[in-house]
């Protein structure tokens, strides 16, 4: 049974992929995090949001 959480997650990733503001590489990183089933961590998201560029935030 698809839970509401999964349904929202899938729609969220679909819209992220459609957004011109967000690089595809970042969307894929988010997809991995969201669908992993693990609890999301703030630092993982920060890295995913900034990690599409060559320079990492340190």
């Amino acid at each position: 049974m698809t839970t509401l959480y999964q349904k929202i997650g899938e729609e969220f990733l679909t819209r992220l992929a459609q957004s011109k503001e967000i690089e595809p590489k970042k969307v894929e990183r988010l997809r991995v995090l969201i669908t992993s089933g693990k609890k999301l961590k703030v630092q993982e998201l920060v890295t995913a949001f900034t990690g599409g560029d060559e320079n990492e935030v340190k």
Partner: protein
């Protein structure tokens, strides 16, 4: 998902030993208060989930399944308390038997122990919301919007969605802070570059003009195009100018730091004052300070909650939601503390911005001091810069800002005592030094320019990365919130529609135009209901308690339908409609039948009328109704057999199950004899614990009935009613002949039940016993209305009669003249 076939309960809550057959059908359990009905709900819930809702939640502190799940006489022997449930898993089309001991509620045995069955049972175990008690229904109705939101979110398992939203928000906030820092670093790097190049703005043509002037002195090729990799010092031999400094530029750096130190005391004064004001408030209000100090701790604690154990002390909790709710309640209490926390963080961030720009002035001078041999000053400046970098980190943490009070009050930059004088001395030393040759000046100028240009470009790139990250985080958070709100709005739309429909079905006679509105916002769900077309109001504004009860059940059913859809196959309704009047209860039965035809409900009620209505509405049958007529601590619930008892006994005997036939007969006799003893005013030997044996009851009831028929015969004779006299005498005579036979047959019943004599009893031995008791009991009931005979008034009987009055005998003889 699941339906119940049967249950066997031993030593759980108020139940000693009990078997019930559900047959995958809706079952009604009726009995007076304290007769053990809710114990059945507890046992079913425990069997399926390992939890007992009544031992959890508000007002249950100190209660637990382990300590209070067993029967009170078995508290020290929790292994004796267990539930065995035979269930049907609708998705798998399979039956299975679950056995769960109170001593280890999280584990269960299952037969057959197949992985798919375990997976299905584990899923059921995660849904304690299948149980709804009266205590719980009002939480959907009579609570403030924020609390209702929590209740609905908990029911729909929205916790994880909320958690994702919070983490996205936190990531965005962190990137906003990082971007502020990066922007300040850009400003600092830009200032340092401008200071060195002496240009009003960082423009490529201005940079090239200044750099080319120096390159011309050195005879280097002029740079015509400024590109990404442009090196202003390109062409200088390796090391040229790198060990020296540019005198003019150095003096400007020293001057800039010196001026900054002179105004250090007033730097960021507005923000410092604001922080000190908030800190003073915290000191003056100890409760607020307590809430503030706990806040960040509790916020962190909440993020660590992953299982039903306190992340700090490992104390066990009934479940993870329970713990989260507790922590959230603590957080909600510290709203004022949150406002102060936000203000401290805001002013801390503004102060940090000024700090970054200030400390950026220190590093070039430290390097300069080292170059000219002022190692002590260089060391002091480097140490100071390090301390300011740490301060910068502390300014991003509210709790650490609180500890900076004395520093903020006494000069937050903590300019080392000797630094001002030493920097002045450095200035003088550099000025006093020999002028640099034009060549050296040009070389050092270009190497410093390139160094600062590189720092500026690096700061720009970093700022750009963080800015993009921030934009992505902002967009992602906004998209998630938008999707979440759309889905929740759609969900609430469906729920409010179903809720209104169900409620109209329940109250169609007086509220056919009923509508409801669920309005979700960021942290709450407001419920308003229509009151006779006069507008939308909170449920408690005008509706009666009975109507509010009805709303609670309807909202619960609407949410469950949304949550499970067609898999909503089982629901335990524990006395949930006690305040709904009789007319509406009949409609409620129809609602359950029509809207939830595939759902098995286990409904308990203490209201006899309601139990009868469930039957007449066709929600249950006589066979799927159980009546608890009493309860004692020693016996547990005393169960009335259903009307089909003789068919059940015959069926058991047909299969050769003498033991179950005997048990059913004995239970039925116990029930009937209690009813008759009460209604006829029989006097069994008094027992202080109320635990009367069948033998006591049967003897006293027979004796009483014979006496009553005797009185009826005498009375009829005195009034000259010959026919009545004849009937009464026949009844009395029949009971007398029964008496002796009963004693022998009763022995048979007892033996079949209580002694290891199964082998001695065949079907043929027990059939006559059953027939004799059946015939005997018919002497006590009306063949027209099926009611058991009673006397009126009980204390000094004047009439022996049945409910329909087809049987009606005067017990008082005609007074003699």
């Amino acid at each position: 998902m699941i339906k119940l076939e049967s249950i066997h309960i031993e030593e759980v809550r108020g139940i000693r030993k009990l078997d019930l057959d559900f047959g995958k059908k809706t079952l009604a359990i009726h009995g007076p208060n304290g007769s053990g009905k809710s114990g059945i709900i507890d046992a079913i819930e425990f069997g399926l989930t390992g939890q007992m809702g009544r031992l959890m939640g508000r007002g249950t502190k100190g209660l637990s399944v382990a300590l209070h799940g067993p029967h009170v006489d078995k508290v020290k022997f929790p292994d004796a308390a267990f539930v065995e449930l035979k269930v049907f898993l609708t998705d798998l089309n399979k039956s299975a038997t679950i056995t769960r001991m109170v001593s280890s509620p999280k584990k269960y045995k299952v037969n057959p122990d197949d992985p798919d069955i375990r997976a299905a049972l584990d899923e059921v175990g995660e849904h304690p919301e299948i149980t709804l008690s009266r205590r719980e229904i009002l939480r959907f109705i009579l609570v403030e919007p924020a609390k209702r939101s929590d209740e609905i979110q908990a029911l729909l398992k929205l916790e994880r969605i909320g958690e994702t939203r919070r983490v996205l928000q936190a990531a965005e906030n962190q990137l906003i802070r990082q971007h502020n820092v990066a922007a300040n670093q850009v400003k600092s790097a830009r200032s340092a570059l401008q200071l060195h190049l002496q240009i009003p703005a960082v423009k490529t043509d201005a940079i090239l003009e200044v750099a080319n002037k120096q390159r011309k002195i050195l005879g280097l090729t002029l740079i015509t195009d400024f590109v990404k990799d442009t090196n202003l010092a390109e062409g200088l031999s390796a090391g040229a100018g790198s060990t020296e400094f540019n005198k003019e530029s150095g003096l400007r750096d020293v001057k800039a730091l010196s001026e900054a130190i002179n105004i250090a005391a007033s730097l960021g004064k507005t923000h410092v004052d604001a922080i000190l004001q908030d800190l003073a408030r915290l000191e003056n209000e100890p409760e607020l300070l307590g809430a503030f100090r706990q806040r960040s701790f509790i916020e962190q604690g909440l993020s660590f909650v992953e299982k039903a154990e306190c992340p700090l002390c490992d104390a066990p909790w009934p479940d993870v939601e329970h713990l989260r709710t507790h922590i959230k309640a603590k957080l909600a209490k510290s709203e004022q503390a949150k406002q102060i926390q936000d203000a401290l963080l805001k002013n801390g961030a503004l102060l940090a911005g000024k700090l970054v720009q200030f400390s950026a002035l220190i590093q070039p001078v430290a390097k300069l001091a080292e170059t000219v041999g002022e190692k002590e000053l260089s060391g002091t400046l480097t140490t100071w810069k390090g301390a300011l970098d740490l301060l910068n980190i502390d300014l991003g943490n509210a709790e650490k800002v609180r500890k900076l009070k004395s520093r903020l009050r006494d000069g937050w930059l903590q300019v080392p005592d000797t630094v001002a004088a030493s920097v002045t001395a450095l200035d003088e030393k550099i000025k006093a030094g020999p002028d640099q040759t034009a060549t050296l000046a040009a070389q050092t100028f270009l190497t410093t320019a390139q160094l600062r240009l590189g720092d500026f470009q690096k700061a720009l790139r970093h700022n750009d990365t963080v800015a993009k990250g921030k934009a992505t985080a902002r967009a992602a958070h906004a998209i998630y919130v938008a999707v979440l709100e759309e889905e929740l709005n759609a969900l609430y739309d469906v729920v409010q529609k179903d809720f209104s429909t169900f409620y109209r079905e329940l109250n169609g006679s007086d509220e056919s135009g009923f509508t409801a509105k669920l309005t979700p916002s960021a942290a709450s769900v407001t419920l308003d209901v229509n009151f006779y077309d006069r507008g939308l109001f909170p449920p408690a504004a005008y509706h009666s308690e009975g109507h509010q009860d009805g709303m609670g059940v309807c909202l619960y059913l609407a949410l469950m339908r949304r949550l499970f859809d067609k898999r909503f196959t089982l629901s335990l309704l524990d006395d949930v409609v006690m305040s709904v009047d009789t007319g509406h209860r009949y409609e409620f039965c129809k609602l359950l039948k029509s809207e939830f035809a595939d759902t098995q409900f286990i409904v308990t009620t203490h209201d006899r009328m309601w139990a009868e209505q469930m039957k007449s509405a066709g929600l249950v049958t006589g066979k799927t109704s159980v009546i608890f007529f009493s309860w004692t601590i020693d016996t547990g619930p005393l169960v009335q057999s259903n009307d089909g008892i003789w068919k059940d006994i015959d069926a058991a005997l047909a299969k050769g199950n003498v033991d179950s036939a005997a048990a059913a007969l004995r239970r039925h006799l116990e029930f009937v004899m209690r009813v008759l003893a009460d209604q006829l005013g029989a006097r069994p030997q008094f027992r202080s614990d109320g635990s009367y044996e069948l033998d006591d009851m049967l003897s006293s009831v027979l004796k009483r009935m014979k006496a009553l028929w005797g009185d009826a015969a005498k009375s009829a004779e005195s009034w000259g009613k010959t026919e009545a006299q004849k009937i009464a005498n026949e009844k009395k005579q029949f009971l007398s002949t029964c008496d002796a036979a009963m004693r022998a047959e009763q022995w048979a019943v007892n033996k079949a039940l209580h002694y290891n004599a199964w082998a001695d009893f065949g079907k043929n031995d027990f059939v006559p016993v059953v027939a004799a008791f059946k015939e005997l009991l018919e002497c006590f009931r009306c063949p027209i209305c099926d009611s058991w005979l009673s006397v009126l008034p009980k204390q000094s009987p004047k009439m022996l009669l049945c409910t329909c009055s087809d049987i009606s005998f005067n017990l008082i003889a005609k007074p003699k003249d």
